[in-house]
């Protein structure tokens, strides 16, 4: 008799071979990505490297975008960890305003270093790994409420994060704007929004 708690429709579990392959594929993809750079990694190459058929890749990850999002999630969750439990001022322990600034700076730099992967994981179809993007929003929203900012905090959080987006940043870099300048302008924006 299968142990089934009276919990509602849980997603069906994963078969053994499927789990094994998922790991193999992710490992192969990660390896290829930081060996060749994300642009030069084709789905066929990942399939070959992982020793599976192409169909398997697509069943598991739906699209190239989805696969890259899965690869990206590893670094993202490291960042999330350092926000949730790392040293201040990014992690807990510093006053909210400083954490807010630290988070923006950290996010900006991370977006730049992971730029290629983020863009590969963010299709024009717009289905970026939901969780990854919304973690930053949720956290920012939390900090804003600690600072007693009034208003539509969820949307305000989005508005503050939007100018740090890799696409926006790269556009500016193409106009010879430095990261330091972007950072300073963001600090100014935050100051205005939070009200000192």
């Amino acid at each position: 008799m299968p142990i089934s708690l009276p919990m509602a429709d849980a997603p069906p579990p994963e078969r053994a071979d499927a789990a094994r392959n998922r790991e193999t594929i992710l490992a192969a993809a990660s390896r290829l990505v930081d060996e060749l750079g994300v642009e030069r990694v084709s789905m066929d190459a990942v399939a070959r490297e992982a020793g599976v058929g192409k169909g398997t890749l697509f069943r598991r990850f739906h699209s190239r975008e989805g696969l890259m999002a899965a690869v990206l999630d590893r670094s993202e969750s490291a960042w999330q960890a350092s926000v949730l439990s790392g040293p201040p001022p990014l992690g807990p322990g510093a006053p909210p305003y400083e954490r807010l600034l630290a988070m923006g700076h950290s996010r900006l730099r991370l977006n730049v270093t992971h730029g290629a992967l983020i863009k590969a994981a963010t299709g024009s179809h717009g289905a970026r790994s939901r969780a990854a993007a919304s973690f930053a929003i949720m956290h920012l929203r939390h900090l804003l409420s600690e600072l007693h900012v009034e208003g539509d905090l969820p949307l305000l959080a989005v508005a503050l994060l939007a100018p740090l987006d890799i696409v926006v940043v790269e556009q500016q870099q193409a106009d010879d704007v430095t990261l330091d300048r972007i950072e300073a302008a963001w600090d100014d924006l935050v100051r205005r929004v939070v009200g000192h």
Copy 2:
């Protein structure tokens, strides 16, 4: 003797057949786009419709993205015209703060209605039709300076426009956020930045 004013290295002019083809291609592309929707228009189809070879498309527009940007530019320049010389509050004649709000609202709605085209014209390669994007930035910057806002105006303008980006907006729409709410939150953001 060729008439050549003492003007420095002008870009070489366009040959007659080239100009003819450019028009034909743009017309064909526009027609197909609003007949089938931008997603369903392939480069082969445009070439067939225009009665030219595929190579010609790519020489003229470099990529699918480039072609779509060219198609988009028509609507964009209509919008630019109504900002520069249309009726207030979007056009000149209204006080700067009202023009600022009107511009945001108008830009938001335009981004939504032209969403598919904008995304098709904005590759992950990030080379969106330079002029189109930067017109809004320049104008916004101008309005901010009229309002005596201090600081790094070019970057502030970018930061205000970023949350209106179609990708950001669609993300929010997927979370059941209405356009009116986005608009209200943007107004609030502007109020904070400009300082009433």
